[in-house]
Amino acid sequence: MRMVRALAILPFAALLIGPFFANRVAPVILGMPFLLAWLVAWIVLSAAIMAIIFRFDPQNRDDPS
């Protein structure tokens, strides 16, 4: 299940490469220009992704302290 860690590539792709495709004002989402909405959405998704990784990564089970 260490493979679950590969999910962490997604936030990097979305936030660093995503803007090349999301650099637009329209459509406005929740009052935000599309680029800002895209970034904010991915910040929330990044937290969710890290929660999934934390839950399934065996690294977090073998530490005694």
Partner: protein, 263 residues
């Protein structure tokens, strides 16, 4: 004497008081002073790591950048998020190594890991030299904020001296516990102010967040996204990635060290 002055005085006293009280009931050995015996729980470390990103930059640099340049300021959102993602992979191994070898500082880590006292010394010197411009910027920002907030009743220079004296005093007395507890107070206050103003200004002046962005778009089309030239998408991605590394190495590295658990 005005209300703002009393507020600033109270904040400085609060910092000093919290900083001194943080020492209570502890024998201050080097292990307590530097990493608090690696005893901080998950909640406190969470608060400290979240609070690390709020500084005078939040009020001056960040808002000034947003006002002057618009869209490119979003890079702050990206690098902070990505630095936390990366810390999941890098910090736990460093934490374990530091605990197992009884290390206290970044310099200790490099000295032990690469078995070279000289490398440790070099890391110390580079760390201190690199901190000087950072501190100068932060104190400069503090001076400006205090001078404006006190309506000129305290000049920028005395404000810097008072701030530096308070910080030096509680760090000398209580070590990392002192800066941790004042940081908790600082983070809570900044967060309240930022969230309040961030919602209040758009609501008060435009009637809502969406209306504010619409007004900006009308006044300056394309200001809320990245420009074609200059601070373009290439700039954006590069700066974000660059900042991830900086934040990781300079700040999280040390916050991590007094955690009870890895990471």
């Amino acid at each position: 004497m005005n209300g703002a002055l009393a507020g600033i005085g109270a904040a400085a006293l609060l910092a000093l008081g919290l900083g001194f009280l943080a020492r209570r009931g502890r024998q201050m050995g080097l292990g307590q002073w530097t990493v608090a015996g690696r005893s901080f729980g998950a909640t406190l470390v969470f608060l400290l790591m979240a609070g690390e990103i709020y500084t005078t930059f939040t009020f001056l640099g960040g808002s000034g950048f947003a006002y002057g340049r618009g869209g490119p300021v979003y890079y702050i959102l990206c690098y902070a998020t990505l630095a936390y993602v990366m810390s999941y992979f890098i910090l736990p191994p460093i934490w374990r190594y530091a605990r197992d070898n009884g290390l206290y500082s970044q310099a200790d880590f490099f000295a032990a890991k690469y078995e070279s006292r000289w490398l440790g010394a070099l890391v110390s010197v580079v760390g201190i030299v690199a901190l000087i411009p950072y501190l100068v910027l932060q104190f400069k920002g503090l001076g400006i904020i205090v001078e404006i907030a006190a309506y000129g009743a305290i000049g920028a220079t005395p404000a810097v001296w008072i701030g530096a004296a308070v910080a030096t005093a509680y760090v000398m007395v209580s070590g990392v516990r002192g800066s941790a507890w004042t940081a908790v107070a600082k983070d809570a206050m900044i967060l309240l102010v930022v969230v309040f103003l961030g919602l209040y200004f758009p609501l008060h002046y435009y009637g809502g967040l969406g209306a504010m962005f619409a007004a900006i778009e009308q006044a300056k089309p394309g200001f809320t996204v990245l420009p074609e030239h200059g601070e373009s998408v290439w700039w954006f991605s590069f700066i974000s990635l660059n900042q991830v590394i900086t934040l990781m190495l300079l700040r999280f590295f040390s916050v991590n060290s007094f955690s009870k658990q890895p990471g």
